[in-house]
Point group: C2
Chain length 398, copies 2
C-alpha cells in the first residue's frame, strides 16, 4: 500500500533492503528535494565517508502546489524504467538505479552529491568543456536508439504504449504551449515585463507557430524523449555530466529534448545581462554559451550520423538525402521547442533561477525581454534554419 | 479457447446466442470471405426472407498465405471496437455490430448482402452520386473526432495505446512502403511492366519521398485511421455507402485514409484504359472519377471545417491560419499516401481486380504504367499541392 514516507521511515526502509547497506553502521536521512514534484531523500552511513544513496518517492500530487493538483504515482515507474533504458543507450550518463518499489512509487539510485546542478554552475559563470560532447552524445544515443530507425517496428510500438504518460504530458501541454499565450491564472511574470507578457497573447504570427509545435508535441511519436531536459535536470562536475529526472518521458519529437537544453542555455545567456555587469566578461561568457550550443549540436550530429551508419535497422531510409533531411528537420524542431521552453520560463508558472535571481529589477526585465526576443525569433524563423550556425547566428546578446 | 469454426459450427454458435435468431427457423451458413485475411460467414434463416447476419472470425495466420505467416487474433478486437467507434462518430456508415467473442476472435454484424463491393461497381462504370458526400463526411468525422482537436489530451492518449496495432501496421509498412522499392520476394508484377517495376528500385527522388511518408506512417499519431480504406472496404447501393473491415486501424496520419480512397479511385481511373475501349465513354467515366475525387475532398473539407467550429476542444489552435495550414498538410499527405497505395497495387504482393481483370496484356500494361506515372507525380510533387484542383489537375488520363 502506498504511503508517503518520512525521513525516519526512509531509513528503516533502506535498512530492510538486503545488500544496500551493511547492518552495522547507523544511517542518516534527509529530504533534499528542490524540485517541484517529488520527495527526494539522501540516506547515508553516519560519518560521511560511507555509502550514500538517493531515495526518490512520488507524491500523489504536485509537491509545490499540494493535494489540489493530483498527479499519477505511475511517474515513478516511468522515471525509474527510463533511467535504466537511458543507461543502456548511453552507459554511465544517468544515475545507476538500485531498486524500484511499485507500491510505494519510489526508487533508489546512485547519490550524485559531488555533482552540481548545472543551472547553478552556469549562473556563476563556470565552464564545462566536456559538457557538449557528453550531452550531444546522450541526446544522439537516447533519441536515435529509441526511434524507428534503430528498433524493430513492433518493439518500438510496444515502448510507445508503455510510456504513454498522459498526466505529465498534459502538464507540459498546458504550461509550455498554452498558458503563456492566453490569460491563464497560472501565468506569473514580473510587473516590468507586463507589456511583453500581454503582447504574447495577441501575437498571431507567434501563436500560429506555437500551435504547430504543440500539435507536433501531441502527435509525433519519434523517440523516447526525456521530456524535461532543462539545466536543472543536468548534474555536472569539472569533468563529468549526468542526466536526471526523466519522469516526463514519453514518445515525442527528438527536437523537444535538444531544444530544452539549448533553450535553457539561452535563458542563462540572457540572464547574464543581470548577473555579469562587466561587458567584456559578459560577452565572453555569452560567447562560451553560444559555443556550447554549437558544440552540443555538432556532437549530437556526429554521433547520430555514426549510429545511422552502424545501427540503422530501417533500410527504406538508407538513401542519399534522407539523413540530411532528417537532421535539418530535427534542428528546426529544436529551435522551435527551445523558443517555447524559454518563453514559458519568463511568463508562465515555473521560472528559472537564472532570471529570478537577478536582484536589480530593471536588469532582470532587460534579461527577460532579451530571452523573449530570442525565443520568438527561433520559433518564427525556424523554417529558415539549415545549420547550427544559422541558429546561433540568430541570437542577439543584449 | 480459440478454434477456427466450420460452417456447421457457426450455425450452432449463432443459434446458441440469445436474441440473435428465434429458435424455430432452420439456419443456413456459408463462407463468403473473399478477403485475404479472415473467415467470413453469412448465417441466415432458411427461406431467404428472414434475418441474416455476418460472422467474421480471424484466423491465427493470413488466410491467403497460410500458417507460415502468423497474424494476431487481436485484430478481431480492434476491428470490432473500431466499427463501434466509427458508428459513434458517423452513425450508420458502418455495419452494426451485434456481438463480440474475445476467445474465438470473432464478431457478429449486420449483413450487407444487398450492397455491392465498390471496386466491382467501378469496374462496370457505375456511378454513385451520394458517395463523395458519404465518404467525405465519414472521413472528416472519424479523423477529426478521434484527433487531439476533438478529444481531451488524456482520452486521446489512452486510445492511442489501445489501438497500437503492431502486426497489421508491420504488414502495411512492408508491403506498401518497402517492398515495391526493393528486390523483395513478395513483389509481383506482370512481365510487360518489368522495366517500370525495376526502375522504381533506382528512382532515388521517389524513394526519398516514400521514405518520408513511411516515417510519417510510423510516427504520426494524428487520428484513429481505418488503415485499409480501399474500394474493396467500401460497400455501396445506388443510394447508400458503408465502410467495412477496419482491422488495420491505429493512430496514424489522416491523409493515409483519404489517400487510400483517392488512390484506389485513380487505380480504377487508369484501369479503364483496358476496360473501356470507346474513347468518349472512357473519357466520360474518367472524368466522373476525377469529379468524385474532387467531391470527396470538398465534402471532407466542408464537414471538417464545420466540426472545427463546433467540436474543437483545443483552444491553442483557434487562430487565423491554423486550420488552412492543417488542411493543406492533410491534402499533401493524401496525395503522397494515394501514390504509395497505387504503386504497391501494381508491383507489390496484393493487386487490384481493376487492373488484374484487364484481359488484353498490352492494355493492362498501359493502364499499369499510367497508374505508376500518376502515382509518382502525386508523391514527388505533393508539396506543391495547395488545393484539390491542384491534385486533380496533375492526373493524366492516358
Amino acid at each position: 500500500m502506498y504511503r508517503a514516507l518520512t525521513e525516519a521511515e526512509v531509513v528503516e526502509y533502506a535498512r530492510a533492503l538486503p545488500g544496500l547497506f551493511t547492518g552495522a553502521v547507523p544511517l542518516l536521512s534527509r529530504e533534499i528535494g528542490d524540485g517541484n514534484l517529488n520527495m527526494v531523500f539522501q540516506v547515508s552511513e553516519d560519518g560521511g565517508e560511507g555509502r550514500s544513496v538517493i531515495i526518490k518517492q512520488a507524491l500523489p500530487y504536485i509537491r509545490v502546489i499540494g493535494e489540489s493538483w493530483p498527479m499519477t504515482l505511475d511517474r515513478a515507474r516511468i522515471e525509474c524504467e527510463v533511467l535504466q533504458i537511458e543507461n543502456e543507450y548511453d552507459p554511465g550518463r544517468v544515475p545507476q538505479v538500485y531498486h524500484y518499489d511499485t507500491d510505494l512509487a519510489l526508487f533508489i539510485m546512485e547519490d550524485l552529491s559531488e555533482y552540481m546542478i548545472m543551472r547553478r554552475a552556469l549562473i556563476s559563470r563556470q565552464q564545462f568543456p566536456n559538457f557538449p560532447r557528453h550531452i550531444g552524445r546522450f541526446l544522439a544515443r537516447t533519441l536515435f536508439l529509441s526511434s524507428d530507425y534503430a528498433l524493430e517496428s513492433g518493439v518500438k510500438k510496444k515502448l510507445v504504449g508503455r510510456y504513454i504518460n498522459p498526466e505529465l504530458c498534459k502538464l507540459t501541454e498546458d504550461v509550455i504551449f498554452t498558458d503563456p499565450y492566453c490569460d491563464s491564472t497560472r501565468n506569473n511574470y514580473h510587473a516590468l515585463i507586463e507589456e511583453e507578457a500581454l503582447s504574447l497573447r495577441h501575437d498571431e504570427e507567434l501563436k500560429l507557430e506555437v500551435a504547430k509545435l504543440k500539435v507536433q508535441f501531441l502527435t509525433q511519436a519519434q523517440s523516447l524523449v526525456h521530456g524535461d531536459l532543462h539545466t536543472g535536470s543536468i548534474m555536472v562536475t569539472d569533468t563529468d555530466t549526468r542526466v536526471i529526472d526523466p519522469e516526463f518521458a514519453f514518445y515525442g519529437p527528438m527536437g523537444f529534448d535538444i531544444g530544452a537544453v539549448i533553450g535553457n542555455l539561452l535563458l542563462n545567456h540572457a540572464a547574464h545581462i543581470g548577473h555579469t555587469r562587466e561587458p567584456l566578461q559578459r560577452a565572453e561568457y555569452q560567447q562560451y554559451l553560444l559555443e556550447t550550443i554549437r558544440g552540443i549540436w555538432n556532437c549530437f550530429e556526429e554521433e547520430f550520423r555514426a549510429l545511422w551508419k552502424t545501427r540503422n535497422l530501417e533500410p527504406s531510409v538508407n538513401m542519399d538525402g534522407y539523413l540530411d533531411y532528417l537532421l535539418i528537420s530535427i534542428l528546426q524542431d529544436t529551435a522551435g521547442f527551445a523558443g517555447c521552453k524559454m518563453i514559458r520560463r519568463v511568463v508562465g508558472i515555473a521560472h528559472v533561477t537564472d532570471l529570478d535571481s537577478i536582484e536589480n529589477e530593471q536588469l532582470r526585465a532587460d534579461a527577460e525581454k532579451l530571452a523573449i526576443a530570442n525565443a520568438r525569433k527561433l520559433i518564427i524563423t525556424r523554417a529558415q534554419i539549415l545549420t547550427i550556425n544559422d541558429l546561433v547566428g540568430m541570437i542577439i546578446n543584449s
